[in-house]
Symmetry: C2
Subunit: 147 residues, 2 copies
């Protein structure tokens, strides 16, 4: 009986780690989607900054490091591109990372950009950001769109 319990416990132990990871990854996805909407679409730094952890290491070459870099970027958007909007098309998570595939439209009616963002989280908070941005061309070699 004891051996059966030990065997059952061993069977459960490893997969339980996946279940815990899966729960944390779902929470991370939710946090990043909420942060993204508050920051990029609502341009509300005070609300968005609550999702940022002890640091915000920035790899976007156009933005300065840290939460203050995000604050300056959102102030720039409010001033120059008040209707700047991004639609999230896909959300992925793997370990501490959340990846977004988005359609960014800087001004209403423009074709806009395809962007893929990568966020790293620690304890459920965003601590690092990378992205890659490409203008959607007028013509393409296939009819599938960039999304």
């Amino acid at each position: 009986m004891f051996r059966l319990l030990v065997a059952a416990a061993l069977l459960v132990a490893a997969p339980a780690a996946y279940a815990a990871d899966a729960k944390q990854m779902e929470a991370n996805k939710k946090a990043v989607v909420e942060f993204y909407d508050l920051a990029i679409n609502q341009k509300n730094f005070d609300a968005a900054v609550k999702f940022i952890g002890s640091r915000y290491t920035q790899h976007n070459p156009r933005a300065a490091d840290g939460p203050e870099g995000l604050k300056a970027f959102l102030a720039f958007l409010r001033d120059k591109f008040p209707d700047y909007h991004s639609d999230i098309k896909r959300v992925f998570a793997d370990g501490d990372y959340v990846i977004l595939h988005v359609h960014n439209v800087p001004t209403p009616g423009s074709r806009g950009n395809a962007i893929i963002d990568i966020f790293k989280l620690e304890n459920g908070k965003i601590v690092e950001h990378w992205d890659v941005r490409q203008e959607i061309p007028e013509q393409a070699a296939n009819s599938n769109t960039m999304f």
Copy 2:
């Protein structure tokens, strides 16, 4: 005793799905990394095409749809950019998707591009591809690089 076994089985059942998913996701990562090296770095279409499934839906606006689009793109690289090389910096997987963050250097010594690729797999084979590509600028507002 029977009830204990049933309870243990129930405990194991749901997390076992995560374990199976995790195994498939690791296999998907391995397949995409091998495909990427064979295609982009070795420009060996005949070897790379073995990783492609029943379709290859292409969202890169510069490439035609299907395996024949990849074949033409690799022939173009061999001809015009024989040293075109991409270093994989990060690999993620979520469900049927694998995401690569790569540093692409079209010609030796150039700063190159940051690219994020998304691949969709079915039964362990690649069936769809999206990517976003951005030139690495000479100067940046932070010192963290795009990677």
